[in-house]
Symmetry: C2
Subunit: 394 residues, 2 copies
């Protein structure tokens, strides 16, 4: 299907989601009631819950994805071969994408919309706690696609909650081209360990912020507090604060975190400067808290920061705060993470904030796509060779 | 190391290979003698054998790789984030590349040079039949790198021929970032089946050429004969010939192949037109002969050709010969292979012929790199974010 046909199908799907709101919300209520009966935490129930506003936002996001430029067909390279043929590399869909996710029912639609926009088929496998919501959302979305002439089977929901179904997806080499897990660490770890199919994912977001000696104190405090506390549960949240021994304003920096409601787990020098801090254990340096907790230590300048990051980073996002452009350039050159920031909050590690439109996830692997994965990351390319009768010499 | 330092190290390695020619050729003689004693086929011995000319060509290819542009540091994307940060994507090395290969000792050097040029470390695991050659080549190459100040351990040769070493490489997730097998189908199949590390490879090259009704007969004969017979042992060699029922010159096309020394295995219509042809069995349509044998059948125009290719292609390279530009465009749009050619011999499916410089292999997978993989395919990217103190709003 061409650009316009895919966009039209997504717009029709957005309309269908609005039309089917009552059915979808009723199905979601069943899931929420069952979850409460099963004693799910209020946080789990909140992730599961849809209301008119959330559902409207989901439909809106589908319309927004419809409005994104189609990556398929984009020419990314053109050259003339030595023998005279014209060579072009053009983007094409990857093929069949498998999405394995947990409680948030919005993933059903967000992931499906991105896959459809980029010309891929998608097989969705949601969590059992959201089974009725996911079925209602999928039925409505597929109805919308079909109403605009798209093959509704382009978006499929695994009909069973049997856990063997996940194993079958992970083993479906040749049937599924790429698997993207969306959920907690245990889900991602299982997918990465068992998949016989390529996987795009991140296991941890142990993000470091390094406050360099030459950092502006006001900027440093503002960035560090935001990086840790704006939203503590996202993968781009700062988990470890590295402070240059020569940074003059460390006490105020640490105080700002504690004053903001953050537990600071620090080394001896941190404890000295901030009596409300507690002592960090070795494992704190490898812990993704996803909470109002931060590990903090002093390092010997850039070399100390690079050594700590090389040892403890999960390769997601690291940031430096410094007014020295040469120092910033060295940090960006030597830190081997998907995203390396200078003078900005690591909470910006997000496809939307990067201006990519919606993201399907963030990848910390080294192949294909790294960092926020959006429509481009859901495509591959093929080589088109246009000759005029060339044969190869011996 | 920067561009110049890597290029200098490779030039020094080329010099070392020339200086060490006697030692390397003596080691290779040991391998060849042992191979003959073990009864290796003359084809195997020929793949194994080095002489002064072949070794000089290997050293020359290292110098040629040194002269290729360094992909590392290339900016492939630049944008301004909604919050005002500057975003850049720049190419970086993948990390540690594992190369698992068979009898050709030149792979030791060709692969090492490409990995070094692109800033990667490489772990080489060659075949036992070439063990002395590979050790001598590796020792010389590493000496050359070290003489130019490169860490010689950037290029390592697995010291043992123990088959468990291959298993250890395939399981080295986190230690090896990418494995590239170079060799026969059984080697590639084992690597693809057992690897817990990403793999770039192609299992088969079942390449189709479709002679459309509107093909120029002279061009069709020249391309088809070249695609099959120029070199029958390469992955881009044509294995199946598809002829449009409405193509007027089919008899001469088939005769040209047989006259060229090719065995033609065809359907009934082929047998009718070319009495020297033999009858094809079902499995012929899924066979990579790598020999002077071709399967051939007639198809009902474009739809018949697309259906046959979709069912039997290995996704490597397909070609159409036609004078009709619209037909050619449809073929390129609908054939889902790494390389789709118009009016050219599939024997051009090669990184050098594509003007990419040397290639490390051809990939038929759908992620990261597809078709000929050269220096660019040995890199990934990271996101560099340059802010001025931005914090993310709630």
């Amino acid at each position: 299907m061409d650009d316009a046909a895919k966009a039209d199908a997504l717009c029709a799907a957005a309309v269908a989601l609005r039309e089917d709101a009552d059915t979808i919300l009723a199905a979601n209520m069943r899931d929420c009631d069952a979850g409460i009966a099963r004693g799910l935490s209020s946080a789990m129930i909140d992730r599961l819950r849809l209301d008119a506003g959330r559902l409207a936002a989901i439909a809106e996001s589908v319309a927004a994805v419809a409005a994104l430029p189609d990556p398929v067909g984009e020419e990314i390279d053109r050259r003339i071969a030595p023998a005279g043929m014209t060579l072009r590399r053009v983007r094409v869909p990857i093929g069949v994408i498998g999405i394995i996710y947990e409680s948030r029912p919005n993933v059903t639609i967000d992931a499906a919309a991105l896959c459809v926009r980029s010309g891929n088929a998608v097989i969705l496998r949601g969590g059992s706690e959201a089974v009725h919501s996911n079925r209602a959302l999928h039925t409505s979305f597929a109805r919308g696609l079909a109403s605009a002439g798209m093959e509704a089977n382009a978006v499929q929901l695994v009909p069973t909650q049997d856990r063997d179904a996940v194993g079958a997806m992970l083993a479906a080499s040749g049937g599924i081209d790429l698997i993207i897990p969306r959920g907690g660490k245990s889900l991602v770890a299982r997918v990465q360990a068992d998949a016989r199919v390529p996987v795009l994912a991140h296991l941890d977001g142990i993000c470091h912020s390094f406050v360099h000696a030459a950092a502006d104190p006001d900027m440093a405090r503002a960035i560090v507090v935001n990086a840790k506390l704006r939203r503590t549960g996202i993968c781009g949240a700062m988990e470890t604060l590295l402070i240059d021994r020569d940074y003059p304003d460390a006490a105020a920096l640490l105080a700002a975190l504690v004053d903001g409601g953050c537990e600071v787990r620090g080394d001896d020098m941190v404890l000295e400067l901030e009596p409300r801090a507690v002592s960090a254990s070795e494992e704190d340096w490898d812990t993704e808290y996803l909470d109002a907790i931060v590990s903090a230590c002093f390092v010997d300048g850039m070399d100390g920061a690079l050594a700590h990051i090389a040892r403890h980073s999960s390769g997601h996002t690291e940031a430096i705060i410094t007014a020295d452009a040469d120092v910033a350039a060295r940090f960006q050159a030597e830190v081997d993470s998907a995203i390396v920031m200078v003078n900005a909050s690591s909470q910006f590690a997000d496809g939307g904030e990067f201006g990519l439109g919606a993201e399907i996830g963030i990848a910390t692997g080294r192949l294909h796509a790294r960092g926020p994965v959006a429509l481009e990351g859901l495509t591959t390319y093929k080589w088109l060779v246009d000759g005029t009768g060339q044969v190869r010499g011996s």
